[in-house]
């Protein structure tokens, strides 16, 4: 999905000054893509089982835990990971900071695939998937439902992402005029492309409000939407750092030039995280739930781990010297991502308690399907950049590998 080397190559290429976008070309059959294909094959096998025998044949979900990793990972966490495009568009186009510009494109590409696959994989999880269109159909759609809001917004955002990307296709197919016209109104889609993730990333948190007492007080709060939004934006920035560092490690590249940008992003992450923690802990105090921090068994432990991995990046990033070191930036970003993943898993699964006797841990086939979805995403990305002029012209043979 995101932790693969391609976007970082993009960054490296983008650094080589302005080159017009070209397809990278090259062979689609590499050891890496073969591994991906095998993983996809395995997951297709289990998906077939799911469609032939029902969800119970493959997953461990049950009526006490009706949502498993196909919801929590494939949608809630995966779309968070895919917030790189959202976060970069926010600083670059809305706050008008052109210097971040060359980080936008790789981030947006990862978002395109993260969201498209996240949206499509919902069909695997829906019990009555053949009715999925009802959710956007007048007469069926129920606007009071938080899930309606999430579904409508994510669908629109996927559409917007493809529109934002369409210049690449139009160029490929030689529609220069159309491309020019589209570019004139692109600012509208950029605005929309920032609004929609703001809406649905926060709504992913709102989903839990109606669960009431079934969500432990350390997580249940009317501020869930704000907390989910803040961590989603942070995830977007952290992903950009991870992708950039990946290049430095994987290709032994000197990324001296990029560092100032990345350290600024580190500073942004620090700021948002501080706000997040102040709001989260302040809310616990106001609701009187703070005393549950040490008295709730496993849930307390999970909460404290979350706090630790959120506080660690703040401590690291608070030192300007650390912000200049790639290793420290990476450590902080990884810690932040871990925190955001844990926060989502905790809120949806650990904090969720419908009464005694119910347990959930994903089955191996269930996990294989999730891994397969990630593999599809990565493979699609590779094919995409090799066949379409997404990336600026490459200049080093290493980058084309």
């Amino acid at each position: 999905m995101v932790n693969h080397p391609i976007p970082s190559q993009v960054i490296s290429r983008l650094k080589k000054g302005k080159a017009s976008p070209t397809a990278i070309g090259g062979s689609l059959v590499t050891p890496f893509t073969i591994v991906l294909a095998v993983l996809i094959g395995i997951s297709l096998f289990f998906m077939a089982q799911r469609f032939i025998y029902g969800l119970g044949a493959v997953t461990n979900i049950n009526n006490g835990y009706p949502w498993g990793i196909w919801v929590v990972w494939d949608v809630v966490i995966a779309t968070g990971f895919a917030c790189g495009g959202y976060a970069m568009a926010l600083v670059c186009y809305i706050l008008n900071r052109g210097e971040y510009h060359h980080l936008v494109r790789p981030a947006l590409t990862a978002s395109l695939f993260g969201y498209s696959l996240g949206g499509a994989s919902v069909l695997i999880d829906l019990g009555r998937y053949w009715n999925f269109w009802h959710i956007l159909w007048p007469g069926y759609a129920q606007p009071g439902s938080v899930m309606f809001e999430v579904a409508a917004c994510i669908s629109c955002y996927i559409l917007v992402l493809w529109i934002e990307f369409s210049p690449a296709f139009l160029e490929h197919f030689g529609f220069k005029n159309l491309k020019a016209k589209l570019n004139k109104v692109m600012f509208f889609f950029i605005g929309l492309g920032v609004l929609l993730p703001t809406m649905h990333q926060s709504s992913l948190g709102s989903l839990l409000v109606v669960f009431g007492y079934q969500i432990h007080p350390l997580w249940q709060t009317p501020l869930l939407p704000l907390l989910f939004l803040l961590t989603a934006v942070c995830m977007g920035f952290a992903i950009v750092i991870v992708e950039a560092t990946w290049a430095a490690v994987g290709f032994k590249r000197d990324i001296h030039d990029e560092l100032p940008m990345l350290s600024k992003i580190g500073k942004i992450i620090m700021g948002i995280l501080v706000a997040y923690l102040v709001i989260r802990l302040g809310d616990l105090v106001v609701r009187g739930a703070i005393f549950k921090v040490f008295t709730s068994g496993v849930k307390s432990v999970m909460f404290l781990i979350e706090m630790a991995v959120f506080i660690y990046p703040i401590v690291v990033l608070s030192s300007p010297a650390n912000r200049k070191r790639l290793s420290k930036l990476l450590a902080a970003a990884m810690s932040m991502l871990t925190g955001a993943i844990l926060y989502r898993i905790d809120a949806f699964l650990v904090a969720y308690d419908t009464g005694p006797g119910w347990h959930y841990f994903p089955s191996v086939p269930e996990m294989m399907v999730t891994i397969g979805v990630i593999a599809i995403e990565v493979l699609a990305y590779i094919i995409f950049v090799r066949k379409f002029p997404i990336l600026p012209g490459h200049s080093t043979p290493a980058a084309a590998e």
Binding site: L14, K18, S20, F51, G54, G56, T59, I61, N63, G64, P66, W67, C92, Y93, I94, L95, N96, R97, G98, E99, H102, V104, L126, G127, R128, Y129, N131, F132, H134, I135, A141, Q142, G144, S145, M147, E149, P167, A168, A180, N183, K184, F187, I190, G191, L192, V194, L195, T198, M199, S202, S206, L207, V209, V210, F211, G212, Q214, M261, Y352, T354
Partner: protein, 339 residues
Amino acid sequence: MTITRRNFLATAAAGGTAAAAACATLAPAGAEARESHKVPDNAVGLLYDATLCIGCKACMSACKEANDLPLEDTIGEKLWDTPLELSGKTYNVIKVYQSGTMENKDKAENGFAHIKRSCLHCADPSCVSACPVSAMQKRATDGVVTYNKDACIGCRYCVAACPFGVPQFQYDTPKPEIAKCQLCKHRMEQGKYAACAESCPTGATIFGSYAALSAEIDRRRAMKPGEPNLFPRRTPESGDMHEKAAPEYVDYVYGQKDAGGTQVRYLSGVAFDKLALPMGLPERAYAADSETLQHTLYGGMILPVVALAGLVTAAWRGSKDHHDDDEFDMFDHPEGGHK
């Protein structure tokens, strides 16, 4: 032009001011909390009196028959219907609380008590609020919470949301449905009523209008424990009464206010938390909390539209700043690179 710190701050400040102004103007409108829905005027429901229940499970088999549900075999005998909980095959189940020697019926110590589990037909149901496709609906007329499988997408949000763990998804079939009591709505169309109430030999489960059941609840709670009293079977007005010593009820009517109130209510001699019903639920429905939040953020789509206007303006200014011609390409940004 080059991006300077100053014009960055100016843009950010302008955007921030606009957002703050928008929030300030819209906050009062959005702050209107949605109240919990009340039980409709002509509501119907059930009263389950655990002290009258003998655990015969006649209601369970009547429910299976009335709703065409398959038997469930949990003990491997393939002889009886033996569900232990609500499930994709079971809308109604009788469970038992057991303590110590189990000598005393309806006593918490060394006693036992039955409890009937089925949909409570909430006044303001979480399942209805959660369902994105209106498959779960509350009938305005009698307040029955219905399920329409032809609308359902199988997302299981209702399963997760119901505070009483009622809706059950069918995990063992490629064409799953949500299993949930609909108060025999198909029998009501034929002038009949809930099969469980009709079949109950002791009047532990009775069906009636919400008002009549309220009166019956008041009557029973006013009884003097130990004194003989008459209890109706099937419905409060059936006239088919049997005599029994009045039980000692705990001082709580489950469903009167819990999570906004329900149309199926319970009386018992044993505290309800021992009967696996969640205690301490707020009187305000969770659906009201959730929809208030949604309405605050998205009511009339005012906030999103204002935000969109701000964002589009910012993006438009961005594109102007960077381009004198109209060749704006978000991927080929002349200002890209380091400053």
